[in-house]
């Protein structure tokens, strides 16, 4: 490496994020990734070999190859695709409604103390209740279509979003509020330029929980009563002792969960880059 190249190494200011990306960290990251890959390999081999070695019957615990066969079988894949669409639709619609309602009401309750005082006992009561228990009631009220499942999802998303938004706003640094007041900022400016960004980390923490919850809600709703969705398919496979099929659905659910979680993480890193 020539001398000029050495100088150029520090000239461009690329690192905008905290500048702690030394070579040692990269090394640690690589080692961590290596361990993760190794663990996954062990898991794959064990899933294939252990049922074989212990001579477990397929309908009790299928081997990995049987699950993969399910996931590559054309008829099963079509079935999975159709039902997954239903579940995904229920979960995402409920997620969006729950987020909008939770964040909106979270802002309102944080800003308006009388409302907070009035509503808080209900929030605590609902928080400590297993909300999926409402699913049968929703089925009675709204039948077997999308509505009751979406509502269960909304219940499971709304409360974490509400509580996290509210707490995020209420824990806004007091001296920053003083700063905005000293600059004679308007109410709207305080909301948009201070309270919302201050609450973002907490809102995202709620979002990570909510994404997982949305699928819990959709599947549970389908268990209670439905004619389509991965929850319905799961029960059909179970009734037929098609355990490999059940596992195939679990694998798909795991993939969807990981994908949504990654989307939230990427969005968080973009929007809450200062943390």
């Amino acid at each position: 490496m020539s001398a000029t190249e050495k100088i150029e190494v520090r000239a461009p200011q690329v690192d905008r994020a905290p500048a702690q990306r030394g070579p040692s960290k990269v090394g640690a990251g690589l080692r961590g990734r290596g361990l993760a890959v190794g663990a996954v390999m062990v898991f794959i081999v064990a899933w294939e070999m252990v049922p074989r070695l212990l001579d477990v019957q397929s309908f009790i615990f299928p081997r990995l190859s049987e699950v993969i066969a399910k996931l590559t079988d054309a008829t099963t894949v079509t079935l999975l695709y159709q039902h997954a669409q239903v579940t995904l639709y229920e979960a995402l619609v409920g997620l969006v409604i729950g987020i909008v309602a939770g964040v909106g009401l979270g802002f309102a309750l944080a800003e308006w103390e009388p409302a907070r005082a009035a509503v808080y006992p209900f929030i605590v009561a609902f928080q400590s209740m297993p909300k999926v228990a409402l699913a049968p009631l929703f089925i009675i009220w709204f039948g077997f279509g999308y509505t009751p499942k979406v509502l269960v999802v909304v219940m499971l998303v709304f409360f974490p979003m509400l509580v996290n938004t509210m707490n995020g706003i209420l824990s806004t640094d007091k001296s920053r509020l003083d700063l905005f007041r000293s600059m004679s900022a308007s109410k709207w400016q305080i909301w948009s330029r201070l309270l919302l960004p201050s609450a973002l980390p907490s809102i995202f923490a709620g979002l990570e929980v909510s994404v997982v919850n949305s699928f819990i809600g959709a599947i549970t709703g389908e268990f209670v009563g439905a004619d389509a969705g991965l929850g319905v398919l799961l029960q059909q496979f179970k009734n037929n002792y098609d355990t490999a099929g059940v596992f195939a659905i679990l694998v798909i659910l795991a993939f969807i969960g990981v994908a949504l979680n990654q989307i939230v993480r990427i969005a968080r890193r973009r929007l809450v880059f200062w943390q």
């Binding site: 905290p18 500048a19 003083d178 007041r181 000293s182 004679s184 960004p197």
Partner: protein, 267 residues
């Protein structure tokens, strides 16, 4: 231009239901001449921060009156700039945007404002950091950015609430000299609240000593040095005499000797 402060019989009583009311300030009067620099020292909880917040319009009075530039203070004023104990920069904005935030809030961002902030950043040694985020800067650099944000507003009144309390001793001293230099240029009316007696004496044209709750003024000392302060100021024998005198108000046993030592200064 810069504004004078008149505080007349200010009283602040905090009352909350179920708790006996606390009197933070009682019958306090204080004048600060336009363009002056007054330091206020006092023990913790003596109400000095309450006084500052009242002058800045962040805290309402329960009695008395405060006037800035002849007008009664009824709320925050655009011509008043604050500096707090913490830099209070917004972590989601880079340094330049943080310094421009007051103008964006006031909707008064002009090219002059931009160039004033740019030259202030240069003066405090942050020219190369304008596009960095607060968490990439040291505490001292963050506090300097906060100075730029306050002075960028071209305020008529500068209210400093223990702005250097969280800094290490060496950085703090450098910031003191920086602040003195900036004040000498801008000659903006400045009120500094501090825990540090040497800092108060080093920077103030007057040092006001407050007593414990309820906050009252127990002494108001003219500092016999010119507007420019530097390391030599601290070496002046009168400097340590005044510091000892002020300290006498907080350390009971030294009262007598401190009183005697100041007699020399006053003669």
């Amino acid at each position: 231009m810069t504004e004078r402060i008149e505080v007349r019989d200010a009283e602040v009583v905090f009352s909350r239901r179920g708790v006996p009311p606390t009197t933070a300030l009682s019958g306090l009067s204080l004048d600060v001449e336009a363009g002056g620099f007054v330091s206020v020292v006092g023990p913790s909880g003596c109400g000095k921060t309450t006084l500052l917040r009242a002058i800045g319009g962040l805290q309402g009075l329960t009695g008395g009156e405060i006037r800035v530039g002849g007008d009664t203070v009824a709320g925050p004023r655009r011509t008043t700039a604050f500096m707090f104990q913490q830099p209070t920069l917004l972590p989601w904005m880079n340094i330049a945007d943080n310094c421009l935030a007051p103008a964006r809030i006031h909707r008064t961002l002009t090219p002059e404002y931009r160039s004033r902030v740019t030259s202030l950043l240069e003066r405090v040694g942050l020219a190369d950091f304008h596009d960095k985020y607060p968490n990439e800067l040291s505490g001292g650099m963050q506090q300097r950015a906060a100075i730029v944000r306050a002075l960028g507003q071209d305020p008529e009144l500068l209210l400093l609430d223990e702005p250097f309390g969280a800094l290490d001793a060496m950085t703090r001293e450098q910031m003191n000299f920086d602040l003195n230099a900036i004040w000498n240029r801008a000659k903006v009316t400045t009120l500094l609240i501090t825990h540090s007696i040497p800092e108060a004496v080093l920077l103030g044209q007057r040092v006001v000593v407050m007593s414990s709750r309820p906050g009252r003024i127990v002494d108001d000392i003219e500092i016999p040095f010119g507007p420019m302060r530097d390391a030599e100021t601290m070496g002046d024998p009168r400097f340590s005499q005044i510091v000892a005198h002020v300290r006498g108000y907080f350390v009971k046993s030294q009262n007598v000797s401190a009183e005697r030592s100041l007699a020399h200064v006053r003669d």
